[in-house]
Symmetry: C2
Subunit: 577 residues, 2 copies
């Protein structure tokens, strides 16, 4: 595999070099992006400066026949947190990029003349063209335009207006199987970095290329079968997620009293039945949408879906659990159609749905709109797309919005908004929010699995005991999985079923001709975390940044009336291994 480096700041215009992976050989996904950022980006550089880099990397098994191997990692110094960032996404580009033979695309430098570029990559090479007609296009219109230009076999990586405006919550969009820009590396503002590089869209076409060849095809086939069987037999990946999508969690988390409502004021939402996964799936079916669908080819979990409007026309992909919560309960909104509309707008503008929903929650607390007012919330999201002064504030996330409007209750860690689990009622995820190298991030160490879903054992969610070890182990496992390019949802089956975990390792060994063991996977995870944490330390982060906002320790959360109980001393033990 090669690395495709594009110096966007070269004099005379962007300069392409295709170089062997070299010191990065054998790395994929998050391990690769975090390695490049660690080694090549000065930790104190401005995230929008020429010194930052945007690294886009498929996983180790992307572009192969392995199931669930379609995740893609995006790395940079984050404009939102100021620390290292790996944000990943589903969609088609991971497989396509890997088949094109690239272990990563690295965007470097910064065009001096302010041009906006499109980059086309196929088996014959790389073509970079300035195209001012793309300016401020939404992701949907952009992708349509690219299909007209390059045909409908393409996969796109793009930014919307939010990225062009360098908003700290801007996402990088990836097209799905239907070539819609519905999958996003949303968290931490990688879209703003892509915008600062002057790149609007990367169009990939793997016509004429086939899957990457494994060292041991037979072994890969067998391991993949065991792996798929494992996913199919586990209740979460085999039943819950396929039937209702990620939003099956809404009822579960609400029942647990951990569903943040009205900007993290209470833990249960009275309107839950109107926005639950069950209601969502029913609504989709009734309108001719699809509740069971994959975001990329090779997916057997099928947690995605298609959401139609009241007239049966496509509106957006099935909004995820986090999105339904962020634009829903967190803003007191119980209207699925309004939530789906905001999901569509977010995808089109290219902005993180979690950050956006959390930001509107903060804006509501500041009095810009009333909790529960869906129309007002949609209006606020539209400000972002228009790039008004208010839109610029909101598009820079919850921390900036809280600061601008003088609000104290802002649910962020390292300036990144908390997702859909209140850390007071799921204390394990609170540990992950506080200590992750990424800022508040549920995917970085999904303690909800063990605290609430009783996957991989059980640790009481309301008590501090056991949360440090739980979060630590999950953060290590996640860093490893994020490096394989596998969908993180495999973790449910991998954590519960030793043979599924072994099958994952067998697939890696079969493809690369290696003899990795479980210990190697753990070592990889630790190594990734260590690199990331070292980068953050050099960027100025300390143990003092591994903390939840003080009010989580002081305000009890109904209905359990619990505060966050894990001590600072314990939080400082997470990285002691």
């Amino acid at each position: 595999m090669n690395i495709l480096r594009i110096d966007m700041g070269a004099s005379g215009g962007p300069k392409v070099s295709v170089v062997p992976s070299g010191e990065y050989a054998g790395l994929g996904g998050r391990a690769l992006t975090s390695s490049v950022i660690s080694k090549e980006v000065p930790p104190l550089c401005h995230p929008l400066s020429e010194d930052n880099k945007l690294v886009i990397a498929p996983g180790l098994l992307s572009g192969t026949s392995a199931a669930q191997s379609g995740r893609i990692s995006v790395g940079c110094k984050s404009p939102l947190t100021g620390g290292i960032k790996e944000s990943n996404s589903g969609g088609q580009p991971s497989q396509v990029l890997a088949r094109l033979g690239y272990a990563a695309i690295i965007l470097e430098g910064k065009p001096k003349e302010g041009n906006l570029y499109k980059i086309f990559i196929n088996k014959d090479g790389v073509k970079i063209t300035p195209d001012s007609s793309l300016k401020l296009l939404g992701n949907y219109a952009l992708v349509e335009k690219m299909k007209k230009e390059y045909g409908d076999k393409i996969a796109c990586i793009s930014i919307g207006p939010a990225g062009e405006m360098k908003m700290s919550a801007a996402s990088v969009a990836f097209t799905d199987m239907e070539q819609r820009p519905t999958r996003h590396a949303g968290r931490g503002g990688p879209g703003a970095v892509m915008g600062s590089k002057g790149v609007k869209v990367i169009v990939l076409d793997d016509t004429g290329l086939s899957n990457r060849t494994p060292k041991d095809p037979e072994k890969l086939r067998t391991a993949n079968k065991t792996f798929v069987d494992g996913l199919r037999k586990h209740p979460v990946t085999g039943e819950g997620l396929p039937a209702f999508g990620t939003n099956i969690l809404a009822n579960v988390i609400n029942e647990a009293g951990a569903y943040p409502t009205n900007n993290f004021l209470v833990g249960r939402f009275p309107g839950i039945s109107k926005i639950s996964g069950e209601t969502q799936a029913e609504t989709e079916k009734a309108r001719g949408g699809i509740p069971t669908h994959g975001c990329h080819r090779g997916c057997v979990i099928q947690c995605s879906g298609v959401y139609m409007d009241k007239d049966g026309h496509y509106l957006t992909k099935q909004p995820e659990y986090e999105t339904v919560w962020a634009h829903g309960a967190n803003c007191g909104i119980d209207d699925l159609d309004a939530i789906a509309m905001m999901d569509r707008l977010d995808d089109d503008y290219g902005i993180d749905t979690i950050e956006m929903g959390a930001t509107i929650g903060v804006a509501m607390e500041a009095g810009l709109a009333k909790f529960g007012d869906a129309e007002a919330a949609i209006r606020l999201v539209k400000e972002v797309g228009k790039g008004t002064d208010l839109g610029r504030i909101l598009g820079n996330g919850a921390a900036v919005t809280g600061k601008v409007f003088g609000i104290e209750r802002v649910p962020v860690v390292k300036s990144q908004a908390m997702p859909a689990y209140d850390p007071r009622a799921v204390q394990g995820i609170g540990v992950t929010y506080a200590t992750s190298t990424m800022g508040a991030d549920h995917t970085a160490g999904y303690a909800v699995a063990t605290n609430i879903l009783k996957v991989g054992g059980y640790v009481d969610p309301l008590k501090p005991e056991g949360q440090i070890d739980l979060s630590r182990n999950l953060q290590i496992a996640t860093a490893a999985i994020d490096s394989t390019g596998m969908c993180l949802f495999i973790a449910f089956a991998v954590l519960d079923q030793p043979d599924t975990f072994q099958a994952l390792i067998d697939m890696l060994n079969a493809f690369y001709g290696l003899n990795l063991t479980a210990d190697d996977v753990v070592a990889l995870g630790k190594n990734v975390l260590k690199m990331e944490r070292d980068f953050n330390a050099c960027a100025g982060f300390t143990a003092k940044h591994d903390r939840l906002p003080e009010y989580f320790k002081k305000e009890p959360l109904p209905p359990h009336n619990v505060t966050f109980q894990v001590t600072d001393e314990d939080l400082d033990r997470v990285y002691n291994w």
Copy 2:
């Protein structure tokens, strides 16, 4: 001396306690405010939370017959930097508060019901009244209202709309001898903290009280005479400052190529002759204003003044050097009347002129207005007063504005805007900007004195050699002087003339019956810095925050075409003593 503690969050309304100074006895000004913040405020609290405190403290010699003793310190955890903050101001309140017998006022807690209060203090006690008629009044109208209510012998400490809106650049205003709200503790947003406490104005009346009594009146009289003679014979405090005010520096710094122009793009401003101190003094005289005036009784330097509009009506106090630069050269504006208008608006809204000018420079770089467009700049300042979305952005300072509009060239350290000396052409002040506990702050260790004015020796401003020791010694001396409540401008004479320094020590000894030596003064300064730095470390600051933005190391500044050359390793030596 007692300390007046007011718990604004007490149930049933604000609760007053007058307590002996106790562990804070013998401390004044910055030493007192920083001690209280260090000991009583949790470093990780939200600056707008009930856990933050606002400490207002006169100096050790305030309320005595000692010349220049009218500075007042305001301390808090800063909403702008997130670190400890001491911001100080001239005006009348320092003397009045000291005569009332208070070593400090400490505002604590946070009113739950959202009332806005006025606090009246005289010899008979303290009266606190909610008064919703004060809401969003400008400082000028507010003070007029207070004079109608309490008579014209009062001194006021107040916030304008910016403080009420909790903007991070909001100042605390102090009335001058003419009872105008023209002197401000501007830097770091103490006005937002006062706003979060629900306090609009503190009205002081010392009717019936006289100066504090020294232990040795005769010794104080003699020392004060030597001290005043020293100030009068030094060319800076005896000639330059009285004749032209602080803005005498404009020509000097411009000549040195260190006058930041167009958002720190170049070091010389073509329009300098229109906004220099000489032109300003002439203009004032021609219109019936005053170029030589004190900001408080007992001042012999008289660097202040009164600025009339074209029709000869009072517009504002003589805008200071920093203000003329911030709203002038830094925005490419060469119109003194426009600058004076912005100074007036800033004072009325209660916002830091340095932060505001730097912020407009950043906004201009973002394309919100053209450099040089005075009308547009005034319009931007007015947005702050109105509290529009744009005004909220700007009122939160340069760092937030840069983030919201996606700008890389933002001249801040620890999120506080740099003042009127480019650190590339005055490398000593660059060391102070980088390492001060306060964020970028010229007053924290005014190396310009030695780099440019050749006071206290000479260190070449364009080279890194000697800057660390220079800045360190000045930071220590400043922390001590800020604790005496003396105007910092005494430093020119104190640094150059040993007998003037001795006279300062003699005054302290005479008043308190002590035997302090120069070593004690140095020890006090070190102790203050250490407390502040420890607080900042507990708030998450590290050596990585003691840095200028990267572009100062990469972009050469015309006309000398120098970059900032002091190494990171050297910066890390500043606090090694």
